[in-house]
Symmetry: C2
């Protein structure tokens, strides 16, 4: 799957992933109205609204980007109906040829991490049959529990030809509270980065490992250091746009081959119509606003990369 | 909810929580057979099997213990039907008067952690109404993202009178890879422990904070240190039994008031009938085996505590 990801990034000339993190407040009134008329103001109604909203955006951007990244928390808050909308979104995006990165940030002790890996990337056995639970292509994983939490994911990735992105340095303001702590004079995120490189060394695609990492766009100097520390690791980069990361900050997340980083934007794309810049599209045409925002983001990043 | 937890522990004289972490391999043949006859060898069939299995155990142990701790990964691996079984289990246990600790180990950046907190402990607004997604009483949270990831949970706990347990030192063999790294000469878990104590200081129940922590039974010397470091923090202790933690190792996880720790056992209780020690109950009477295993565990721990 890492090879497919690299190919699609090259084919579309777009190192960009659209974060499908729907808040009900982003969903245009006409979609909410239709969903509530059908299902009432219920969890099912909310789930239908975010699903229809997602569908519009995916239809509008699928030819432009290699991948989408649904954030499962935004669905989970609507309980089972919300998770149904997550599953429908994953399936729909895959049907459109998009690579799906499940932003699930799971991680636990061995047998439990194995269950999460099965849930999101693998297949579970029921009697004489087997089924995929959510079946994303990649998922994000939390490293706080060490190798025990990562290895079960790697095992499933190997079997299913899938991949993971391990949190190394997250984009949020307080990420340094643990991640920047100095261990033998070096920040913890470097130690985690080295571990990711080690975990990934046995998991190589053609040019990159299918064990990737997450490094926030909001810490460009750290991105530069981590890029050098793990040259074969694909970096998933959240924090561009709404969180403050700028294209020129992202140049050093890429390798000299022009690859190695995949930049995410969520709110900046999916709620583009709510921004002054794209307000002319209007709420009804929210998906076209998202399409324009993706075009602009790709141009912004490729411009910074000088291509 | 922390006050209720303390009261129930005292009333039942049982600082014990039953981990409802069902693997299909634990579910007796007659339950699997009935479920597969009704739903086929499908995810729905598997979910029905683990739900019926859980129900039997909960009915058998509800008068003995204050709380249960379903591990959501074990349900998530069966996709949406599995999560339905999780929800049914949570609701059923609450209906029986049990406190439910959702072992979900979620954690993300601010707005996303807020969505997870809403999903598991809070209520989401849909139009003019609001709904609880999963509605556990407590949930476990991963601290790798720092305060941004924790504060949204604390906010919801305050509103809903619920609680969290933050991972400090986990029970698995590789937990030390990050958690034991020395920061200014002290292990990272101590730093996280201090943070938990700080987060918890503004979140006090009558005698303990509703911001608790997780410290594995498999590291008793560390448990001793952390107990002293955070005297008002309730410690959720996994790793007793199947993972190797012994009752005598757990004494120092408790405060002089006899409170402050809640010991979990999962496989050792729910799959007791598969152990030689309880084999005489037979597969048909798996729930009675679980009940006996709970009685023995409570006696073991209270014995070590000299009461």
């Amino acid at each position: 799957m890492i090879n497919k990801l690299v190919q699609e990034i090259q084919k579309k000339n777009a190192p960009v992933v659209v974060g499908l993190d729907p808040m009900l407040g982003y969903v245009p009134a006409h979609i909410q109205k239709a969903a509530f008329e059908e299902y009432g103001e219920t969890l099912e109604g909310a789930a239908e609204a975010i699903w229809q909203y997602n569908k519009g955006i995916v239809d509008a951007v699928a030819d432009l980007v290699p991948a989408v990244k649904p954030q499962i928390a935004m669905y989970e808050q609507f309980g089972i109906p919300g998770l149904n909308a997550f599953k429908k979104t994953v399936d729909y995006c895959k049907g459109k040829g998009l690579i799906v990165i499940g932003d699930v940030k799971r991680g636990d002790i061995g047998s439990t991490s194995a269950a999460y890996a099965t849930a999101h990337l693998g297949k579970v056995t029921v009697g004489s049959r087997s089924y995929a639970g959510f079946d994303e292509d990649f998922s994000t994983v939390n490293p706080y529990l060490g190798s025990d939490g990562i290895n079960p994911f790697i095992k499933v990735c190997r079997e299913e030809k899938k991949g993971i992105f391990v949190l190394v340095k997250t984009s949020n303001p307080s990420s340094g509270e643990l991640q920047d702590q100095l261990v033998n004079g070096r920040p913890l995120y470097e130690l985690v980065g080295e571990k990711v490189a080690q975990w990934g060394a046995g998991c190589m695609g053609d040019s990159y490992s299918y064990v990737g990492c997450v490094v926030g766009a909001t810490y460009p100097e750290i991105g530069k250091v981590l890029r050098r520390l793990m040259p074969k690791t694909y970096i998933l980069v959240p924090g561009y746009g709404a969180q403050g990361g700028k294209a020129e900050d992202l140049v050093h997340y890429f390798n000299p081959d022009g690859l190695g980083a995949l930049v995410n934007s969520s709110r900046g794309i999916i709620a583009a119509y709510q921004k002054e810049e794209y307000a002319q599209f209007g709420e009804e045409h929210y998906a076209e606003a998202s399409r324009q925002a993706v075009i602009d983001m790709i141009a912004d990043i490729n411009g910074a990369l000088g291509r």
